[in-house]
C-alpha cells in the first residue's frame, strides 16, 4: 500500500497554507516531514486524513483517490493519524483509550491488538487501569501511538511525537516508530526535531511555506549544507 500526495493545496478560511505539496510514503518505510513552525506540516496531515478539505491536488491510497471520502472512512481504508498534542480521552482508563482505537476499525482483533501494543509499550500494560489524563507526557504519547496502532493502519501519520518530551523519551518513542516500520507499516513522521528524525527515518522531505523544497534519503538530508544550517544548527 502506498500513500501518494500530489500537488496538494489547502488552508483555513481564506488563509492558504499548503501550496502544491507532493510526497509519497510506502509500506515499510519511515518518512520524515520536516520544517519550521508554520510550514504546513500539521495542515498537511490534517488534509491527508480528511479532517480539513483539500482545495486542490490529490491524495491516493493504494491507488484509490480519497477525494470526497470522510476521515472515518479513510481510517477504515488503512490510514492512521496520531494527532498533534496526543488528544487522548483523559477521563478514560488507558485500556479503554486503546479499545476505542479498535472499536470501529479492528474490533475483532482487539485482544491481539492490546497484546501487540502492550508488548511495544510495556509501561502501558502496567498502567492499563489508570486514567489517561494521569499519565506522564511520554506515556501519553505512547498511548496516543498505541491507540492508533489498535486500528491496524497500513500507513501511520504521527504529528510531533517528541513534543514536550525529554530527549531520552523522545528517542525512545521514535525508536518504536522505527520498529513499527520494520514490521511493514509505512510511517509519515512530522517533526520539528530534525536531528532526531533523520536518525530514524529512511527518507525525508523538507517543507517551507506549504511546499516541498528539498527531499532525499536521511543521509543526504543530514549532509545537505542548507539543512545543516537551517535545522541542525551545525
Amino acid at each position: 500500500m502506498k500513500l501518494e500526495v500530489h500537488n496538494l493545496s489547502a488552508g483555513y478560511a481564506k488563509a492558504q497554507v499548503l501550496f502544491g505539496l507532493s510526497l509519497e510514503v510506502a509500506e515499510g518505510e519511515l518518512v520524515a516531514l520536516l520544517g519550521a513552525n508554520g510550514a504546513g506540516k500539521t495542515t498537511a496531515l490534517r488534509t491527508v486524513s480528511g479532517l480539513i478539505r483539500a482545495w486542490g491536488g490529490s491524495v491516493h491510497l493504494n491507488g484509490q483517490s480519497l477525494a470526497g471520502i470522510s476521515a472515518a472512512r479513510r481510517a477504515k481504508l488503512g490510514l492512521g493519524h496520531v494527532p498533534e498534542g496526543r488528544q487522548l480521552f483523559p477521563l478514560m482508563p488507558v485500556e479503554e483509550n486503546l479499545l476505542l482505537g479498535a472499536a470501529f476499525l479492528a474490533w475483532e482483533h482487539r485482544a491481539a491488538g492490546l497484546e501487540y501494543v502492550y508488548a511495544l509499550f510495556p509501561r502501558l500494560r502496567e498502567r492499563r487501569g489508570q486514567l489517561a489524563g494521569t499519565l506522564s507526557g511520554g506515556e501519553q504519547q505512547m498511548l496516543a501511538i498505541g491507540r492508533a496502532l489498535m486500528g491496524r493502519p497500513r500507513i501511520l501519520m504521527v504529528d510531533e511525537p517528541s513534543l514536550g518530551l525529554s530527549p531520552k523519551l523522545a528517542e525512545e518513542v521514535l525508536q518504536t516508530l522505527a520498529q513499527v516500520r520494520s514490521e511493514g507499516m509505512g510511517v509519515l513522521l512530522v517533526e520539528q526535531n530534525v536531528a532526531l528524525s533523520l536518525e530514524v527515518a529512511d527518507r525525508g522531505y523538507v517543507i517551507e511555506h506549504g511546499s516541498v523544497v528539498l527531499s532525499g534519503s536521511a543521509a543526504e538530508l543530514s549532509g545537505n549544507p542548507q539543512v545543516q544550517k537551517a535545522y541542525l544548527a551545525l
Binding site: S49, G50, L51, S70, A71, A72, R73, A75, K76, G80, H81, P83, Q87, F89, P90, L91, M92, P93, E96, L99, L100, G101, A103, F104, L105, W107, L131, R147, A148, G151
Partner: protein, 307 residues
C-alpha cells in the same frame, strides 16, 4: 448493574405490595415516575455523544399526540408504536439538519424545534388545538393494572436500551465523540452517524414514553405535552442521578419524582421552591450525581458535562 436489576424487580412486584388505602395513589405516582425516568434515560442516550438536546419534550409530545390520535383506530400497542415512529422520524429530519452543530448551537436548534412543533399542534385542526385532545385509556380501560404495566414496560425497555448501548461498541464511539470529535474521526468513528443513531434511539423512546403518558393522563394539551418543563425534567434527572450511566437516571428519576410528590403533599404552597433548592444543593455537592457518591474511581462516563 445489580442495583438496576433490583430496582426493576421492585417495579414489577410493586402493585402486589400491601399499601392499603395508599395503593391507588402510589401506583398513580409510580406510573408518572416511570414515564419521567424513561424520558430521562432516553435523553441521556443522546447526551452521551456530547449533544445537549432541549427537544426531548417535543418528541415526548409528538409521541403522545400520535398515539393519542391513533389509539382509537389501531388499539393500544400499535398506537404506541406509531407514537415512537413519528418521534423517531422527526428526529431524523431534525438530526440530519442540526447534528453537525455543536454545544449551545445544537441546544438552541432543538429548543426552536420544540417551539415550532408546539405551535403546529396548537394551530392544527385535527389535534384539538388549544382545547386539547381527550385520549382513551390503555386497553380500553378494561385492565386495571394495564396502565401501570405499560409504564413499567417503557421504563424497562429504556433501561435495557441504555444498558445495551452502554456495553456495546457504540458507547466507545459516543464517549469519543463527546470528548474529541476530530480525534474520534481519525480513529474511524463515523461521528455524524453515531449521533444520528443515538438521536433516533433517544427520540423513539421519548415518543413511546409520551404515548404511555397520553393513555395515562387521558387528556393532552400542547402546553402540557410540549412544555419546556418536560425537556428540562429530562435533563435534570440524569444530572441529579449521574450522567452517561443507566443507574443514574433510573435512581434519579424515581427519587426525584418521589421527593417532588412528597413535598407537594407536605408543603402544598411553594413546594417547588424547596424542590429547586434541593436540586441546586445536590448539583453543587454531587457534581457526578448520585452515582458518583458510591463509585469512588472516575469511570469513563463521569467527566463534567460540556455545555
Amino acid at each position: 448493574m445489580r442495583l438496576v436489576l433490583v430496582i426493576l424487580g421492585l417495579v414489577l412486584i410493586f402493585p402486589a405490595l400491601p399499601l392499603g388505602r395508599w395503593q391507588a395513589f402510589t401506583l398513580d405516582t409510580a406510573q408518572f415516575a416511570f414515564i419521567a425516568t424513561a424520558l430521562a434515560l432516553s435523553w441521556d442516550l443522546l447526551a452521551r455523544t456530547g449533544q445537549l438536546s432541549l427537544a426531548q419534550g417535543a418528541f415526548f409530545g409528538l409521541g403522545a399526540y400520535a398515539a393519542g390520535l391513533s389509539a382509537g383506530v389501531l388499539g393500544t400497542i400499535p398506537a404506541l408504536l406509531v407514537g415512537a415512529g413519528v418521534a423517531a422520524a422527526s428526529s431524523l429530519l431534525l438530526g440530519a439538519a442540526t447534528l453537525r452543530l455543536q454545544g449551545i448551537y445544537f441546544a438552541i436548534a432543538t429548543l426552536a424545534f420544540s417551539e415550532v412543533v408546539r405551535t403546529l399542534v396548537l394551530k392544527a385542526g385535527f389535534t384539538g388545538g388549544a382545547t386539547g385532545l381527550p385520549v382513551a385509556p390503555a386497553f380500553g380501560g378494561g385492565w386495571a393494572l394495564g396502565g401501570y404495566y405499560l409504564a413499567a414496560a417503557v421504563l424497562i425497555l429504556s433501561v435495557l436500551t441504555s444498558l445495551w448501548v452502554g456495553h456495546s461498541r457504540l458507547s466507545y464511539a459516543q464517549a469519543a465523540t463527546r470528548q474529541g470529535e476530530a480525534t474520534a474521526r481519525v480513529l474511524g468513528v463515523p461521528v455524524v452517524r453515531v449521533k444520528l443513531v443515538s438521536f433516533l434511539l433517544s427520540s423513539a423512546l421519548a415518543g413511546l414514553a409520551g404515548g404511555v403518558y397520553a393513555m395515562k393522563a387521558l387528556f393532552l394539551s400542547p402546553y402540557d405535552a410540549f412544555g419546556l418543563g418536560r425537556a428540562v425534567e429530562a435533563l435534570v434527572i440524569p444530572i441529579f442521578g449521574g450522567l452517561y450511566t443507566t443507574l443514574g437516571p433510573l435512581l434519579g428519576g424515581l427519587l426525584l419524582v418521589a421527593l417532588e410528590t412528597w413535598l407537594r403533599l407536605e408543603i402544598q404552597d411553594g413546594y417547588l421552591v424547596i424542590y429547586g433548592l434541593i436540586l441546586i444543593l445536590a448539583i453543587l455537592f454531587m457534581p457526578r450525581g448520585l452515582v458518583g457518591l458510591f463509585r469512588p474511581r472516575a469511570k469513563p462516563a463521569q467527566e463534567e458535562p460540556r455545555a
